[in-house]
């Protein structure tokens, strides 16, 4: 139990630390990969809490997602390597307030929401996968299908916007 607590704390601090690194660096790739390692640390926290499937999934999904984010950041930033002297920050006060409000909101949710009884023993890892599958295809199916459909719509819309119109032949 104490070892478990230690590792939860360790990975939690690692997640926060990498989260801080995201904003401390001016290199876009470093920033994106710092966010990746922050998320990987979260995945490790899941593993420590014996939620094996969720942990492995988190560790797997984030690697691709953050890498894709990295290339977009490199594409759209004027100084992606952060080697120039350009200041790439903006709206500092607004960001500070937005960050503070989200933090307070997150803490409030964590403290005041009734999370129900705490499970004394986590079910076996294989059983968890089965339970998760039943949950996803049962009670939570509508939510997940809606989320999936929304993401798909957004992807199609984004692709449609980014396709360059064909040039007219006459010109």
């Amino acid at each position: 139990m104490t070892a478990q607590m230690f590792f939860i704390g360790f990975f939690g601090i690692a997640a926060i630390w990498f989260g801080v690194v995201v904003f401390r660096t001016f290199s876009m790739v470093r920033s994106a990969l710092a966010l990746l390692f922050s998320q990987t640390a979260l995945g490790a926290m899941f593993l420590t809490m014996q939620a094996e499937f969720l942990g492995v999934l988190q560790i797997m999904m984030m690697a691709t997602e953050m890498s894709i984010m990295a290339i977009f950041m490199v594409m759209f930033m004027m100084d992606p390597g952060g080697m120039g002297t350009m200041d790439m920050t903006h709206q500092k006060k607004l960001s500070l307030w937005a960050g503070f409000v989200s933090f307070v909101g997150g803490v409030a949710i964590a403290v005041f929401v009734d999370w129900g009884p705490i499970a004394a023993i986590a079910p076996g890892a294989a059983q968890q996968t089965v339970d998760l599958g039943l949950e996803l295809l049962g009670r939570s199916m509508l939510i997940f299908e809606m989320a999936g459909l929304t993401i798909l719509t957004a992807m199609i819309a984004a692709t449609a916007i980014s396709i360059q119109p064909l040039k007219k032949k006459s010109q």
Binding site: R30, L33, F53, V56, M60, S67, I71, A125, A126, T129
Partner: protein, 299 residues
């Protein structure tokens, strides 16, 4: 103890892959060639490029090696010779191998060189093409075994290997594996003769040795994964389990290396186009067929 045995086997396996690669590429079968190559690499100066992202540059080769080793940890070589028989084993292999992408991005971005950077980002595009062709065939394999345990996947093939049960999945996974190890014809991130080595271009000396070793380990790990998912793992008549595993892995490795020799390098745009327009529909079809088979002929 198991960990030690598996690591030693992986090192030996990587050596054999290097011998095979040399044989296939140059037509010369020399058992000492990889040793001399390694000695030469380790003896050379490891040059640092101008203004590198030092952290990425140093971490990338190690991360490549680590991700291959982690993936190997959930692959059973015999019924008992497996480092971690996880309840999410089949998923974990994939999770570990995604970090090959992260390693190559780091190796591309780190040294502050144009060729390396192009190679690194190219692999991101390559992942877009092959990622679904890794996950979806594994899904079909898992559907038949009704378990994510890699050992149970092997046991599920006792009567009929998956290569016969779901040949479409095998072909797709085999191609995706070639792309994942960036072997020819999918060697876009390194691209000899075009990108001057791509992600490897700025590496030399010890760092290059680690990078190459990581890639060899990756190849042997993926061959082992193919054996476990499609070729019945350790199962086979007469010979002991370890012998069957070894024979199958080496055969698959040879097949992977020879396939690359027979084809020209694929263009990135073509790879993406084929991956999405042909590969993914076929992978979905494979899942459908396996689903029907599982329901009609339950074990």
């Amino acid at each position: 103890m198991t960990t030690l045995i598996v690591v030693i086997l992986l090192i030996f396996g990587s050596y054999l892959v290097a011998v095979l690669e040399n044989w296939v590429n140059n037509g010369k079968f020399r058992l000492t060639a990889p040793l001399f190559a390694a000695m030469a690499m380790l003896g050379r100066e490891s040059i640092l490029s101008h203004k590198p992202d030092r952290l990425f540059f140093e971490v990338a080769p190690a991360l490549l090696l680590i991700s291959a080793l982690l993936a190997a940890a959930t692959i059973p070589l015999t019924p008992n010779l497996i480092i971690a028989d996880l309840a999410t084993g089949a998923l974990f292999i994939n999770a570990a191998l995604v970090y090959v992408l992260v390693a190559l991005l780091m190796a591309g971005w780190g040294p502050n060189g144009a060729y390396a950077m192009i190679g690194g980002w190219r692999f991101l595009g390559q992942l877009m093409a092959y990622a679904m062709l890794v996950v979806m065939p594994i899904t079909a394999v898992v559907m038949r075994a009704e378990s994510l345990f890699t050992t149970e996947i092997v046991v599920s093939q006792a009567e009929l290997w998956n290569i016969v049960y779901q040949p479409l999945g095998f072909v797709l996974f085999f191609i995706a594996s070639l792309a994942l190890c960036f072997l020819p014809p999918f060697d876009l991130p390194t691209a000899e003769g075009e990108l001057a080595g791509g992600v490897e271009a700025e590496y030399s000396g010890v760092r290059l040795a680690v990078f190459r070793f990581g890639r060899l380990t990756l190849i042997i790990t993926l061959s082992a994964a193919i054996v476990v998912f499609y070729l019945g793992g350790w199962q086979g008549p007469l010979l002991p389990p370890w012998a069957w595993t070894a024979i199958k892995i080496l055969t698959v490795t040879a097949a992977m290396l020879i396939t690359g020799q027979l084809m020209p390098r694929v263009r990135e745009a073509h790879l993406l186009s084929w991956g999405w327009k042909l590969g993914i529909p076929l992978a979905l079809l494979n899942i459908l067929i396996v689903g029907i088979l599982v329901l009609v002929f339950p074990t």
